[in-house]
């Protein structure tokens, strides 16, 4: 019986102990649970907070930063806003968001290039068709100009031709900006022709004055002709557009050490440094061209110049202000794009300004490699009497007949081997009585008879070097024809002494034998005898 209470007591004690232990553990656990709960609540709050921040940041990215970044591609002056919370910037989230922006920029740029390329291709196709059509129209108009000369109709045709040239220029420039070929193959041409051709494509071409200081015959190789014409037209267009309608735009063509410079000066408003910098960047042609960069309406001129300078190794500089207050644009054509055309064989267009150097002796050291040195002796010889400007003024008074012996002398200097015998021959020849060299070239019989034969050689030289009267060298076919005419007669002057001796002997002989005959009958006999003698 005693064991039972002990057992109970023991059990109770054990129960109490374990209850106590359990209670303590329970308490501890409960406390820990409470602490963990509080901790997790705090964590959840923080998580909510950071999620909110993240969401806000992404919303901010979508609503503000992405559009701004997209716009900033087109307008670089726009600033892209930073993240909503400044502390995000350095965090991994900030970096990730920056990566999103960067990816967008890259993809957008690529997209822009693709879209632009498609637009350019479309425009290229369209302008090529238009350009071809306008060339056909030009052919038709020029054909009509040749065929019909009624003043009213001709006036309209001139106006249409000019309108057509302007449309052609626009189409061509648009095509060139879009990366197309210039659209027209030309042959080697005088540089002044290319510049004048460019001038003619503008509405205000009458305000342009071209000063040509090039050596006659300075030409462009075939593939550079059209680009130079286009660039000149665009530079002139800029100059005309940005200067008052009553001012002139001056163009001067000059030789420089490494080629030829075409300088365009306007007296307009000029450009601000920013504009100048942009223009210089465009004409340098280093950056690829996007149509979207050209504005609306697109300003294509400078962009076209940029394309051409890049393709054809030309140099354009618009960075300096003009002494006239406007802009000075300089197109430099390098030596390897230059060539030479004999101006006697193929003269420049009639309306192209004359070279101011036509009478000046040429500097052989600076000569274009090849044949430019050939005319030098001839030209200097021709230019020597030019120091006396008073006498030449009078010479036209003596009538066109005296001009004629001058024609062989004005032979193209490209054939100097022919000239030396030809020229003295003409001089001797005309001193003979009834010299046949005075036969008119344009034989309408309207020319008054020439003056005393002795004065002819002097007039000949004077006329050619008349100070104010620019000289134009003859074309080869005409020169050849002229040389052909005096050639058979020139047999006599080749041996003038013999001819004179024969004539003298004949005269004395006939005078002795036919003392009774009149001079009128003797004269023709002498002539025929002379001809026979010299022909032998």
């Amino acid at each position: 019986m005693i064991e039972l209470p002990d057992l109970v007591a023991g059990g109770l004690a054990a129960g109490t102990l374990s209850a106590l232990a359990l209670g303590g553990g329970l308490l501890h656990t409960r406390r820990r649970l409470a602490r963990q709960q509080a901790e997790s609540t705090a964590l959840r709050a923080r998580l909510d907070e950071s999620l909110r921040v993240f969401t806000a940041e992404v919303e901010h990215l979508a609503a503000r930063r992405l559009p701004a970044a997209a716009r900033a591609l087109a307008h670089p002056h726009l600033t892209v806003p930073g993240p909503l919370h400044p502390q995000t910037a350095g965090s991994p989230l900030g970096h990730a968001l920056e990566g999103v922006l960067q990816g967008l920029r890259v993809e957008l740029a690529a997209q822009q290039v693709r879209v632009d390329a498609a637009a350019q291709a479309g425009m290229r196709g369209a302008t090529r068709e238009i350009q071809a059509a306008l060339y056909r129209l030009q052919d038709a108009l020029r054909g009509l100009q040749q065929r019909y000369d009624d003043p009213e109709l001709a006036q309209t045709l001139f106006e249409l031709d000019h309108e057509n040239e302007q449309s052609l220029r626009r189409a061509q420039v648009a095509a060139v900006v879009c990366g197309a070929w210039v659209g027209l193959a030309r042959e080697e041409s005088h540089l002044v022709d290319a510049v004048t051709g460019g001038q003619s494509r503008l509405a205000g071409y009458r305000r342009v004055t071209v000063h040509n200081h090039l050596r006659p015959g300075t030409a462009l190789v075939s593939h550079a002709v059209e680009p130079v014409a286009i660039i000149t037209a665009e530079l002139l267009d800029n100059a005309l557009r940005h200067s008052a309608p009553d001012t002139e735009v001056l163009v001067s063509l000059e030789h420089v050490h490494h080629g030829v410079c075409v300088t365009v000066d306007d007296a307009g408003v000029g450009m601000t440094p920013d504009e100048r910098e942009r223009a210089q960047r465009l004409v340098a042609g280093r950056d690829p061209i996007l149509l979207t960069d050209l504005g609306d309406p697109p300003r294509m001129g400078l962009a076209a110049i940029g394309q051409l300078t890049r393709q054809f190794d030309l140099t354009v500089d618009v960075s300096s202000p003009s002494p006239y207050g406007g802009v000075r644009a300089v197109l430099r054509v390098a030596e390897h794009l230059l060539s030479r055309i004999d101006p006697a064989e193929r003269p420049p267009a009639a309306s192209a300004p004359r070279s101011t150097r036509e009478n000046a002796p040429e500097a052989p050291a600076r000569a274009v490699p090849g044949d430019i040195a050939a005319p030098t002796p001839d030209e200097t010889a021709a230019a020597t009497p030019a120091g006396d400007p008073a006498a030449p003024r009078e010479t036209p008074a003596s009538g066109p007949a005296v001009a004629l012996p001058g024609r062989p002398a004005a032979t193209p200097p490209g054939a100097p081997s022919v000239t030396p015998p030809g020229r003295p021959a003409a001089g001797h020849h005309t001193t003979l009585p009834g010299g046949p060299a005075s036969a008119p070239a344009h034989a309408y019989g309207t020319e008054p008879p020439g003056p005393a034969a002795g004065t002819v050689p002097a007039h000949d030289d004077d006329r050619r070097d008349t100070g104010g009267l620019p000289r134009r060298r003859r074309r080869t076919p005409m020169a050849a024809a002229e040389q052909a005419v005096p050639a058979p007669r020139g047999v006599a002057p080749q041996r003038p002494e013999r001819a004179a001796a024969a004539l003298g002997a004949l005269q004395s002989g006939t005078a002795a034998a036919r003392a009774g005959s009149t001079p009128e009958t003797a004269e023709p006999t002498n002539d025929t005898e002379n001809e026979g003698e010299t022909a032998r």
């Binding site: 003043p151 045709l157 051709g197 003024r393």
Partner: protein
């Protein structure tokens, strides 16, 4: 005159006259003769006018011939020449009129007369 080698001319014709094809007063014929006067060449002529004077330095030309030599349309030469005539630098002559055709009536009557003589 054959066409210019190489095709399309770079410089259009209207540039020669500054875009005008009409002259208020003077109307030259295609075959009018142009003759250089003895007046010295003043300053301030256009290149095309100088070119025309140069062509005429060697003698007389008709309007069409000058046009062919300068590779310009006749209408442009007309204006250039008329401007130079205004400045007394050129003299023009009327073209030589072409011979008139015989009246067919007259020919018929002559033939009839001849036949009458023969019979």
């Amino acid at each position: 005159m054959t066409a210019r080698p190489g095709g399309r001319p770079l410089v259009p014709a209207y540039l020669a006259t500054g875009g005008t094809a009409r002259h208020p007063r003077l109307r030259l014929e295609r075959l009018s003769l142009l003759l250089r006067s003895d007046k010295p060449v003043p300053d301030g002529l256009t290149p095309a006018q100088l070119a025309l004077l140069d062509e005429l330095a060697d003698g007389t030309l008709t309007v069409v011939e000058a046009a062919a030599l300068l590779r310009l349309p006749v209408s442009a030469i007309r204006v250039l020449a008329a401007e130079l005539v205004d400045r007394d630098l050129l003299v023009t002559r009327a073209p030589i009129p072409p011979a008139e055709r015989f009246a067919p009536d007259l020919l018929k009557r002559v033939a009839d007369g001849l036949r009458a003589l023969k019979h």
